[in-house]
Subunit: 505 residues, 2 copies
């Protein structure tokens, strides 16, 4: 929430940011992540107002009307708290004034209120959450009671200025900046580069081309390589420390003000922000998430660090673009595509170094795929993405040596999806598709492919992680969990013993 | 974390709970959710120790060695903070002693430490996170430096008692309680009851039968109906207010002490705890999550309240049982099955009332399904779950009126999955399966069915929510988003114009 305020500070805008909170929701950890972030950045252009009405949905709140509980928490978190009677208009105006004058820290106005105030039969009573008055007697009585209490504003009285015209805020629109072209990748074919490292390089190039690009971190910038962006553009880099909800929430706020934000962390830690990722989909917010260290290919760090459900988390949402590069060239290209793709996007990067397989001039599209190997007599089309592209290429070599040809596809765009390209590849490969992914079996690439080709008559055989993985060397784990070249070779050989698919055209 | 301590309190056990925290992770909101929960419950049998070494993974932490920042936050959250030099053994022992003597509140020992202390070339230096010493010179030098500083414990000296035997803790094992049989459902066929209400009823019956069953809420107990359990067993009910991470974390802690915990909230709010749900899978923890108000069938409350990705969130994890009842009888039966299914389970309940379709004696299994309608000439098998079972039954009636028979299946166990039952139903229904789910298209029932029947030659046609849903009446939304009886009827009619599937036997 505070990051629209932070954004204002950095663009030297005069606008102030106000946030309304409920007392019940103040139990959510995300509130305290945001509280830390705002005080750390000394956002005195930022003012929160908590409506402390003491009633939750199902019962009185944790602290009810004990205002001191709220006050001491916000003060401890570095805010300037002001406790007021939330029904006193003069007190509200004074508090807003005090907030404007407070320097060096954000202000939290803690407004003690009575839920349903002025309506005798609900005032301060539990059990009215989300409940409308019944039309007829209940509603009529409530309106009559409120009308009886209505006091017209007296000239010169305490709330007199409330009846004046509110002046329009000054325009905060900035000159439209046409981004410059983004510098092309500059790798050597076969060079070993991790896609996470190429992500960092691409961020810098994007930053050079477009001042709207910003980056956010949650204390892993040296692993995701977003520290490259920080070094180049310290004013457009936001460190959130270990607090993923506020990182993604801040990105959402900045996107609302026109920025193109790239929040990145280990893919597994993005699950901490799953609700924010979901809400970004609902609001179609223009955030560009990046998750690194995805899959069993991280190796020794063990299952808590392996994101094996991140593709599912983002792919489930109807409007996320989900991109998964396998080499440095495609990583750079996909980061740029994500930046200018309207709406939310997720980029999955990998820990291990992988060889560059695309030329620096290769072009990619959101919704595309690449056929890396093909012949007129392919026994199956093997669909990989990220690290498994290289397992598929290894399988190709092994099978070729024994006289079997396979088609190899890099499905770098998991959502949206090149259905036609995939179906045509499958039809040209005996009707057989084999998916191989460093991800759990549900919700990932296998499911995406199976749905896309459902009406085509193609068969889909899936290789994916099907149990809780453990620690080991990357190559050991790829093999142990069934997604290595060996398993692809076995799957292709098993297919040859089956009747060919009946392809519908 | 605090809930094993809370559990100790409630079972009158003397054990104390200790939790180690990092200073970096203290930026996570989940820490402050737990901090509130522990002080609210005045857990003086609970002691945290924060290792404040001032260095995160990628840079110094937010508050570094400013101990007052930590102290004032923990004090504000109702804890007794003790700041010590974390390298001073006497200070550590004294602090643990003080924690034991502190009454009415939990203690947080804030231990100021120097990372890498005693090794000159890393002491207090950034850039050593997760980095081992290089074998050879680096490692040898570190060991030599540490050995030089080793001070043998002096009899009577400050840390002398550290060298004594640590006595075994007294056994905390409680008498094994054999649960009584759980009371059977007692509904009338056709009675209108929401599955969430039956969930509440089942919890009470489980609670009567088994003292190990506990329930946890996040301020929606009057909507999930877990308030029924609270009324019956106030000592086994844990209110977490609006804080889902600590609710699920607490359930994990209680499961670790042998309880059978049911944390429940609206299914959409469980995404706040997605990382905890993931970690429960990795550790195979015996928690029984329940999410209510799932799907567009909630109606007017709008997309932020519709969980349309919850099945995917849990089904992605390899070891979750995912159960989805459609009526009150199956809801009660599945809640009991979940309780005694080893490992994590998720139960999805619905907001609207639905008619009871099962007799009170009907039996269910984890991994089962029910064929509700069948004939010798079914044109397709329609697979619903939850609210869509009733859309499938309506479609059956409409199609029957025009002379077309369909098979209707209630897939109440989404994971694990009755593959054989489904394949045999599909083979007996022209080889055509139609799935219909109140969930996004990815990661849910359509994907589960498609994968299960992948090698069978059956066709799978999916009806699911494919865009961000909006507010409306439940029946309007089911139709608008393509999962109503009308859409099922259309899908069946469209199939009749296609060639029949080639079924492999």
């Amino acid at each position: 929430m505070g990051r629209t305020a932070l954004s204002a500070r950095r663009i030297q805008s005069e606008y102030r940011t106000y946030v309304l909170l409920g007392d019940g929701e103040s139990a959510e950890g995300s509130v305290w992540e945001a509280a830390n972030a705002a005080s750390m950045d000394r956002l005195d252009n930022f003012c929160g107002i908590t409506d402390v009405n003491a009633l939750g949905q199902s019962r009185p709140t944790m602290w009810q009307h004990d205002m001191e509980q709220f006050e001491r928490r916000w003060r401890a978190f570095g805010w300037h708290p002001i406790v007021i009677d939330g029904h006193d208009l003069t007190a509200i105006l004074d508090a807003l004034d005090e907030a404007r004058k407070t320097k060096g820290q954000p202000t939290m106005i803690l407004a003690r209120t009575i839920k349903g105030k002025g309506v005798s039969f609900v005032e301060g009573r539990d059990g009215w959450h989300g409940k409308p008055f019944k039309k007829g007697e209940e509603l009529d009585r409530a309106i009559a009671e409120l009308e009886k209490q209505f006091v017209p504003v007296q000239p010169g009285g305490p709330a007199a200025n409330l009846s004046s015209q509110i002046s329009k805020p000054p325009s905060t629109s900035r000159p439209v900046v046409t981004p410059k072209p983004v510098a092309a990748p500059a790798y050597t074919m076969g060079e070993q580069v991790a896609t996470r490292e190429a992500y960092g390089a691409a961020l810098v190039k994007l930053g050079e081309a477009d001042p709207l690009v910003v980056a956010l971190d949650a204390d892993v910038k040296n692993s995701t390589f977003s520290d490259r962006f920080e070094k180049a553009f310290p004013d457009r880099f936001y460190e959130n420390f270990i607090a993923e909800q506020v990182m993604v929430g801040a990105a959402m706020g900045m996107a609302a003000r026109g920025a193109i934000p790239f929040p990145s962390t280990f893919a597994c830690f993005l699950t901490r922000a799953a609700d924010f990722i979901r809400m970004a989909a609902i609001s179609n917010v223009n955030i560009k998430l990046a998750g690194s260290h995805a899959g069993v290919s991280i190796g020794e760090d063990g299952p808590s660090q392996m994101a094996l459900e991140d593709l599912a988390m983002c792919r489930t949402q109807p409007n996320y673009a989900v991109l998964y590069p396998c080499d440095a060239v495609s990583a750079e290209r996909l980061v740029v595509l994500a930046a200018y793709h309207p709406g939310p996007a997720y980029i999955r990067t990998s820990r291990p170094k992988t060889p560059v397989i695309y030329s620096n001039e290769e072009t990619f599209t959101v919704g595309g795929l690449k056929v890396l190997r093909e012949s007129g007599e392919d026994a199956a089309a093997v669909i990989g993405a990220g690290v498994t592209v290289f397992e598929a290429l290894k399988a190709y070599d092994q099978l070729k040596a024994s006289g079997t040809a396979i088609r190899v596809i890099d499905l770098y765009s998991v959502a949206p999806f090149d259905r036609a390209g995939l179906v045509s590849a499958g039809r040209a490969s005996g009707g057989h598709l084999i998916t191989v992914e460093d991800h759990y079996a549900a919700g990932g690439i296998g499911d995406a492919v199976a749905e896309a080709v459902a009406d085509s008559g193609l068969t889909v055989h899936r290789l994916a992680v099907r149990e809780i993985a453990r620690s080991g060397k990357p190559e050991e784990l790829l093999d142990r969990y069934g997604i290595s070249a060996t398993h692809i070779v076995d799957a292709v050989r098993a297919l040859r013993e089956q009747p060919s698919a009946r392809i519908r055209r």
